[in-house]
Symmetry: C2
Subunit: 172 residues, 2 copies
C-alpha cells in the first residue's frame, strides 16, 4: 500500500476507486432496467410511477404535496406533473389543491392505486432479492447501507449548484 505523499488530489483515481465506480454504474443501469421490466410486466407501471405510488403508500394519510414527491424521487417538477397526470387518468391517484395553500397540489392515493401497489409490490421485492440481495451477505448489506447512506447525505448537502444566478429579465 503506497503512501500518499501529500494530501493533494491527483488527477487520477486509484484502481479500487475506478473499480468501485464502474461497478456502481453498471449495477445501477442493469438493476434499473431489470426492475423496470418487472414493473411494466406486473402492473404496467414505469419505475417513476411505481416510486410515486410507493411514496404515497408510505405517507401518513396516503397523500403528499407535488414538490415533496418530486424531491423524494429526485425528479423534475415538470416531469412529475406529467406522470401525475398519467396516474390520475388511470384512477390511481387524485390531485386537488391544498386547503392550506392554494398554490400547492396534493396528490393522494386512491383505493385502486393502493390495490395496484399491493399487487405489484411483492414482485418488486422478489426481484430485488433475486437480482441484488441474493448475492449479498448480511454484513455486505450493512456495509452498503452505511457507505451509501453517508454518500447520499453528502450529495444531498452538495447540490449541483442549481443553475447560475441568472440576471432578471429586462423590463419593457
Amino acid at each position: 500500500m503506497p503512501q500518499t505523499p501529500t494530501d493533494q488530489p491527483p488527477t487520477e483515481l486509484t484502481p479500487a476507486q475506478l473499480e468501485a465506480y464502474f461497478a456502481f454504474t453498471e449495477v445501477s443501469s442493469l438493476l434499473r432496467h431489470a426492475v423496470e421490466k418487472q414493473l411494466r410486466d406486473a402492473g404496467d407501471l414505469s419505475y417513476v410511477q411505481f416510486q410515486l405510488l410507493a411514496r404515497l403508500g408510505d405517507a401518513p394519510g396516503g397523500w403528499r404535496r407535488m414538490t415533496d414527491l418530486a424531491d423524494g424521487v429526485v425528479y423534475s417538477r415538470s416531469g412529475l406533473t406529467y406522470q401525475a397526470q398519467l396516474l390520475e387518468q388511470r384512477g390511481l391517484v387524485t390531485r386537488s389543491p391544498s386547503p392550506d395553500d392554494e398554490r400547492s397540489t396534493v396528490v393522494a392515493l386512491t383505493d385502486e392505486g393502493r390495490a395496484v401497489l399491493a399487487t405489484v409490490f411483492p414482485g418488486h421485492i422478489d426481484a430485488l432479492r433475486r437480482l441484488l440481495f441474493s448475492t449479498l451477505s448480511s454484513d455486505d448489506v450493512d456495509d452498503l447501507a452505511r457507505i451509501l447512506g453517508g454518500a447520499a447525505s453528502h450529495l444531498r448537502a452538495n447540490p449541483p449548484r442549481s443553475a447560475a444566478p441568472r440576471r432578471r429579465a429586462p423590463r419593457a
Copy 2:
C-alpha cells in the same frame, strides 16, 4: 400473522436492505445529475456521450464496434446510433464499415474527440472525488468494489429475460 419459521424468503426486506436500496437509488440519481451537469458545463457532453468517448479512448486503437460500445454502457442499439450520429456531426468520432464484416460499423475517436476527452476528463475525475470519494475511506472503497462487483456479475449473468419469445408475425 405467523412468525417466519425458516429461511424461506419473506415478502419483505429487512430494514438494512431497505436502507441500502434507498441509499443506492438516491446516490445513483444524485450522482448522475451532478456528473451530467459537470460534463455539460465542461464540454457540452451528455453522460452517455462522455461514456462513449471514454470507452473509445480506452480501447486499443481508439475504435470499437457499435454493439460492443452499446453493451459496454448498457444502452439500446438505436439510442447508440442516435448518439453516434451526434458525435460524428461534431467531428469527435468517425463511423465506417468494418473491413472484416460489412455489416458492422466501426466507431473511432478522432484527434478532436481525443482532445475533448482530455479536456473534460480531469474535471470528471475531480467531480467524482468531490462528490463521492471524499467521504469514503480506503476500506469503504474496497468494500464497495467487492460488493458491487459481485452484484454486477450476478446481474450480467441474469439478464432481464430479453422480451418474451414472441410469436412471429404471420406471413403474407
